[in-house]
């Protein structure tokens, strides 16, 4: 059976989990949450008939998360408040002008300082992954359609604006590879910009014409085809996510 979730389910769940993660502030718990999210996304999207461009959001976010952890740790090593403890190695201290008192670059790198920086990095990365997972499970476009009527028009406009983005990326790759085939290598992005600009202009004109001739914006009011119902499995997802908050409070705080 194909089960679809209410568009708000995963986003509400994501918010609850994000709160739980912030309460716990524990690296092991964070990693467990990210692992769990990856598992859920994999399980649900594996069975989807087709993959929307959004469904790859989590895998993209995981890459970004890794970069964030590395950067955060490096910054933690280089700059920051000294934390006393087991010294691993020493970096030379850079002399800073007097008015920058309180900031230190370099110095002793302790194991504690390293763990702290790493944990901070993981914390940020986890939050990003949680919301990326929600994006992978529910396209933001479906979410925007749930907006109340008075901002619905705005939502539709936003949906249209954002649908062009993935297309832009596709066109850019296509043009770049076509030009590589012509042997144009050195010209880089300047050569892509002109055809890309032309194409996106033509596309948006086409889109505007299509919307215009389909009556978009002609009527004052807009009806809505389908209201999605909140079902039992939606509730259970949200409730179990909320249950994580007291759990993490009790266990980690």
């Amino acid at each position: 059976m194909k089960r679809t979730f209410h568009p708000l389910t995963w986003w509400c769940g994501a918010i609850a989990i994000a709160i739980a993660v912030s309460v716990a502030h524990n690296t092991a718990f964070n990693l467990a949450v990210v692992g769990g999210m990856c598992f859920i996304v994999y399980q649900i999207n594996r069975n989807a008939i087709d993959q929307s461009p959004w469904s790859r959001g989590l895998w993209f976010a995981l890459k970004i998360a890794a970069i964030i952890i590395v950067i955060r740790t490096l910054i933690g090593i280089a700059i920051g408040v000294p934390i006393p403890g087991n010294t691993l190695f020493e970096l030379p201290i850079v002399d800073l002008p007097e008015w920058m008192a309180g900031i230190r670059i370099g110095g002793a790198i302790t194991q504690e300082r390293l763990t702290f920086a790493f944990a901070e990095g993981v914390q940020i990365a986890t939050l990003i992954c949680i919301f990326a997972a929600a994006t992978s499970l529910t396209s933001p476009h479906r979410l925007l359609r749930q907006m109340p009527v008075f901002i619905y028009e705005f939502g539709v406009a936003l949906v249209i604006a954002t649908s062009v983005l993935p297309q832009l990326v596709t066109s850019a790759t296509r043009i770049k590879s076509a030009q590589r085939m012509r042997g144009i290598q050195r010209r880089g992005w300047a050569g892509v910009a002109l055809p890309l600009l032309e194409e996106s202009l033509a596309r948006s004109l086409d889109l505007a014409a299509a919307m215009d001739s389909r009556g978009y914006g002609y009527c004052r009011n807009r009806s809505r085809y389908r209201r999605e119902k909140i079902l039992l499995h939606d509730l259970s997802v949200v409730l179990s996510a909320i249950a994580l908050i007291p759990f993490s409070w009790v266990v980690f705080a």
Binding site: I49, D50, Q51, S52, P53, S139, H141, R142, R145, V159, I160, S163, R174, I175, S177, A178, Q179, R180, M181, R182, G183, I184, Q185, R187, A190, G191, L194, P195, E198, E199, A202, R203, D206, L207, A208, A209, A210, M211, D212, S213, R214, G215, Y216, G217, Y218, C219, R220, N221, R222, S223, R224, Y225, R226
Partner: protein, 545 residues
């Protein structure tokens, strides 16, 4: 008069802003309810403008000055904006993918109804109705981006029909489709005209596909004049005509037919002898492209399955097959755009993914589906100069090559302002001036009229025969294949299902047989020239031409 006039053009003239030339001059005609009207004309003659005049996109959306009056079902388009005609006129643009607003099929179908504030229960009923009518029920929750070209076209038609319009306007609805998907879309239109009394206005370059369905034809001439009449009358003298009409003219038949059946009946006397069975000769050139068991996988989808092929010099090979059969993947692997997941490809002994710079230019020429992707300079002369530089050619040789194909091209024009045909010649000149050993073209005839197509045929044939180069084209255009190809490779679902001389492959499948072959069957002639030569040989006398 008693006629139910659905669309009336009354002394219509049109001029676009910043243009000195009128697109139309004093156009007057009427289209009746329940008619299927085909608009023909060379590229750039204003077919799209005519279609977009019907719902007021021209001039409301594009600007320009419109003189005269156009009414649709009694409503004047000069006074009503396109949005106000949305319930009356459904319009499907040249590239339906550009007109999609939402992500999934169902949402796309309801978009227009939501905009016009239809009640939810009406919408639900109509969506089901359209899903059944266009057999889209299985696709209802699919994301549009993952549908095939034919399916997308059906969704676009569906989202226009769901508004219950009285007029449906389609701009080249089958140009991107393979013959079978095209047939599917056209028969749906035909059914709508007959069952629902819908008025359909359609433009199409590939006349052979639509001519049988049209009640009347509007022929737009280069001077902005238009003529409307039944197909037989228009086609008697029109320079734009499907092969079947050229055949009738060449054989000096009394009248031209629009369907294979008609022309077959008219030519029984020409088929009552046993034709000589043509010996298809295989190319003897050395092998240029060697493909050994290549497979390619996208994610979990197998696009190519252990394909082994060998292409020789001096041979033009057409790669055919449904949308998504693996043609583009095969070509991308051949030109070295990606490394195939398995197997190996050698072009004159070299790995195409490792070719660089001038060596690449002189080995592989690739023309993508959108030829303009290759154009980056602001004028024709600059493009040509850049190509001279890249290929270390004498100054001006690319431009000389170009003028040999199209003498009239203006060197100062911006490449984007050229007509489709001229732009293709420019790209051909840029690629061919370095005389690559393999020329690879992906869907070259999209949006080309017959004139531009015959230019392409001449260029390709002389490149392959005179210079002994290997040419590969992926195309849906059966008539082009009949004219140009020596060999056809047919792909289905990542497998080679047929590979052989054009004659054998095309004649073995009715869906892919060109019109002349259908008329002349069982004689193995694919083109008008073949048929004339064949008849002359068999009867021993030349037909007056």
């Amino acid at each position: 008069m008693g006629c139910v006039c659905m669309i009336t053009f009354n002394n219509v003239s049109l001029i676009y802003p910043h243009s000195l030339q009128t697109v139309f001059e004093d156009l007057s005609f009427t289209i009746e309810e329940g008619e299927m009207v085909l608009v023909i004309g060379a590229t750039g003659s204003g077919k799209s403008s005519l279609l977009r005049l019907i719902n007021g996109l021209v001039p409301h959306h594009t600007g320009g000055i419109l003189a005269g009056d156009i009414t649709v079902d009694g409503i004047s388009t000069s006074l009503t904006k396109p949005g106000g005609l949305a319930h009356l006129i459904g319009i499907v643009g040249q590239n339906p993918a550009h007109g999609f607003v939402t992500d999934t099929v169902e949402e796309e179908l309801v978009f227009g109804m939501e905009a016009l504030n239809f009640a939810p229960d009406v919408m639900r009923k109509r969506v089901e109705e359209i899903l059944d009518l266009l057999s889209l029920a299985q696709l209802r929750s699919r994301s549009i981006a993952t549908l095939s070209g034919g399916e997308q076209q059906r969704v676009a038609i569906g989202s226009a029909l769901v508004m219950h319009p009285k007029v449906l306007v389609l701009d080249e609805p089958t140009s991107a489709l393979d013959p079978i998907a095209a047939e599917e879309v056209l028969s749906i239109l035909h059914r709508l005209v007959h069952d629902l009394g819908l008025t359909v206005v359609i433009s199409e370059h590939k006349l052979e596909r639509v001519i049988g369905f049209a009640d009347r034809i509007i022929a737009i001439s280069a001077e902005g004049k238009a003529e409307i009449d039944i197909p037989e009358e228009i086609l008697k003298k029109s320079p734009i005509a499907p092969p079947i009409v050229h055949l009738a003219r060449a054989l000096n038949l009394d009248s031209v037919g629009t369907s294979v059946r008609e022309v077959r009946r008219m030519t029984t006397h020409l088929r009552d002898f046993t034709p000589l069975v043509a010996q298809s000769e295989s190319a003897t050139g050395e092998s240029v492209v060697e493909i050994e068991k290549i497979s390619h996988i996208y994610g979990e989808k197998l696009a190519l399955r252990e394909v082994s092929l060998n292409f020789k010099s001096g041979e033009i090979t057409a790669v055919m097959g449904r949308n998504g059969a693996g043609k583009s993947t095969l070509f991308k692997s051949i030109v070295g755009f990606h490394k195939a997941t398995g197997g190996k490809i050698r072009i004159l002994g070299q790995d195409p993914t490792e070719l660089k710079g001038r060596q690449r230019l002189s080995t592989i020429g690739f023309i993508p589906q959108e030829p303009s992707d290759l154009l980056i300079h602001s004028s024709v002369s600059k493009e040509c100069a850049a190509s001279d530089h890249d290929n270390a050619l004498e100054e001006g040789s690319t431009f000389a090559f170009l003028t040999r194909m199209t003498p009239t091209v203006n060197p100062e024009a911006h490449p984007r302002d050229l007509s489709e045909g001229q732009r293709l010649s420019l790209v051909l000149a840029l690629i061919l001036c370095s005389a690559p050993d393999v020329l690879v073209m992906d869907e070259p005839t999209r949006g080309l009229d017959y004139q531009a197509k015959s230019l392409l045929v001449d260029t390709l044939v002389s490149y392959s025969r005179n210079l002994g180069k290997c040419v590969l084209i992926a195309t849906h255009d059966v008539e082009l294949v009949a004219e140009v190809a020596d060999r056809v490779v047919f792909l289905a679902d990542g497998d080679v299902v047929a590979d052989g001389p054009t004659l054998d492959v095309l004649l073995s499948s009715p869906a892919f047989a060109p019109q002349v072959a259908k008329v002349m069957s069982p004689a193995p002639w694919l083109t008008v020239t073949d048929a004339l030569r064949g008849i002359a040989e068999a009867t021993g006398k030349d037909l007056p031409s």
